[in-house]
């Protein structure tokens, strides 16, 4: 009887689980919304306190500050989780990106720890010390998010490369035998081009220097320089798949 009860309960949990558990994107949207609301309230209350430094105003501003800090660090942790979720969604095992996903996770844990730590703040002096300590340690963790954003794009390109390679591998056995010499040359060209694109993606990934993350992430060209590379690789991939589809249509698909 107890066994039957457990099975029924499991079914109920499984049925309702997707609607109850928030996904990474919605969690981030919610947490950031909380931060925005909390921060605008905090700015007003802090100004009130500075204009009229009463005990009541101080208490209100302190409570608001604690809530805003909690919301801020939870929002940052959610953003890191969201990026990790996006990267994992491509289901690609790509070595050069692993240090970044690890760093994203470490940064996420740091922000969760800070969110928890902020709740032990009681006095204004505690808050001052907390913020000073936070500012001295947060830069490295904040900079990781930029690397994560680029890593997400790189993973998407790697996914396309893997799919393209699978497509080529599946087309070759379907080609008419003996394969004409011109077609053999075209397939070889595709293989060579794929290697060139792989090389460009590897170069882009290996140029993400985590060791000097803070200094590198603050440069203005951090994103712009990489956008150029992304555009170039995307164009190469598009040209590659156009050539593959041309072979597929002319040699593999039944002609009408």
């Amino acid at each position: 009887m107890r066994f039957l009860y457990v099975i029924c309960l499991s079914f109920i949990v499984l049925f309702f689980a997707p609607s109850v558990l928030a996904d990474a994107k919605s969690d981030y949207d919610y947490q950031y919304g909380q931060y925005r609301t909390g921060y605008s309230e905090f700015v007003v209350l802090k100004q009130d306190y500075l204009n009229t430094p009463s005990l009541d105003n101080q208490q209100k501003a302190m409570l608001s500050a604690k809530q805003t800090i909690l919301a801020r660090d939870l929002a940052k942790a959610s953003l890191h989780w969201y990026l990790m979720d996006l990267i994992a969604g491509y289901q690609v095992d790509y070595g050069p990106i692993k240090p970044i996903t690890t760093s994203l996770n470490i940064a996420r844990e740091y922000f969760l720890a800070q969110a928890q730590k902020s709740q032990s703040v009681i006095t204004q002096e505690d808050l001052k010390k907390f913020t000073q300590n936070y500012q001295s340690t947060v830069q490295g963790n904040d900079s990781i998010i930029k690397f994560g954003i680029v890593a997400n794009k790189i993973t998407a390109l790697v996914r396309i490369q893997r799919d393209s390679k699978t497509a080529l591998d599946s087309i070759i056995p379907k080609l008419p035998t003996p394969i004409p010499a011109s077609l053999t040359a075209r397939i070889q060209e595709l293989k060579d081009s794929a290697q060139i694109i792989d090389g460009k993606i590897d170069l882009l990934a290996n140029n993400l220097n985590l060791a000097d993350a803070v200094a590198e992430s603050v440069t203005e060209i951090f994103f712009t320089a990489r956008v150029e590379k992304l555009v170039e690789i995307r164009e190469l991939q598009l040209d590659w798949i156009n050539r593959l589809i041309d072979i597929d249509i002319n040699y593999v698909q039944p002609q009408i």
């Binding site: 905090f42 802090k46 500075l50 953003l79 998407a156």
Partner: protein, 121 residues
């Protein structure tokens, strides 16, 4: 064969005949015509105009210029047949949908200096 002869003996009829012969019977009509001569002349002219208009309309209806229409070439039929589609179209679609914009997602601004010190506001 005898020729029958009618003799009018009714004095009113004789008077009427005499009036007709002398023209006295038409005097009121002649006076009315003279008095309203511009009315009936213009009325007459309008009637004549309407008659001519209807005659002209009838003539123009019978003599319409011929309409030249192009020969019927039938309804155009689309020549496109069934296009051959590749099984790998979805990869091309993925590449086309891939956004190269950075940062994506956008990093929102966060205040890292939340405290109650006046210098930070």
């Amino acid at each position: 064969m005898s020729n029958p002869k009618f003799e009018i003996t009714n004095p009113e009829a004789i008077k009427l005949l005499n009036d007709i012969k002398s023209g006295a019977a038409f005097a009121p009509v002649k006076a009315w015509l003279v008095r309203y001569k511009w009315f009936w002349i213009s009325g007459l002219m309008v009637i004549v105009l309407l008659i001519f208009l209807s005659i002209g309309k009838a003539i123009s209806r019978n003599r319409r210029p011929p309409v030249f229409l192009p020969p019927d070439i039938g309804t155009p039929v689309p020549t496109t047949g069934k296009t051959v589609k590749s099984d790998y179209e979805w990869i091309r679609q993925n590449i086309q949908n891939f956004s190269t914009d950075l940062p994506d997602p956008v990093i929102p601004p966060f205040d890292n200096s939340i405290d109650l010190e006046s210098v930070n506001i």
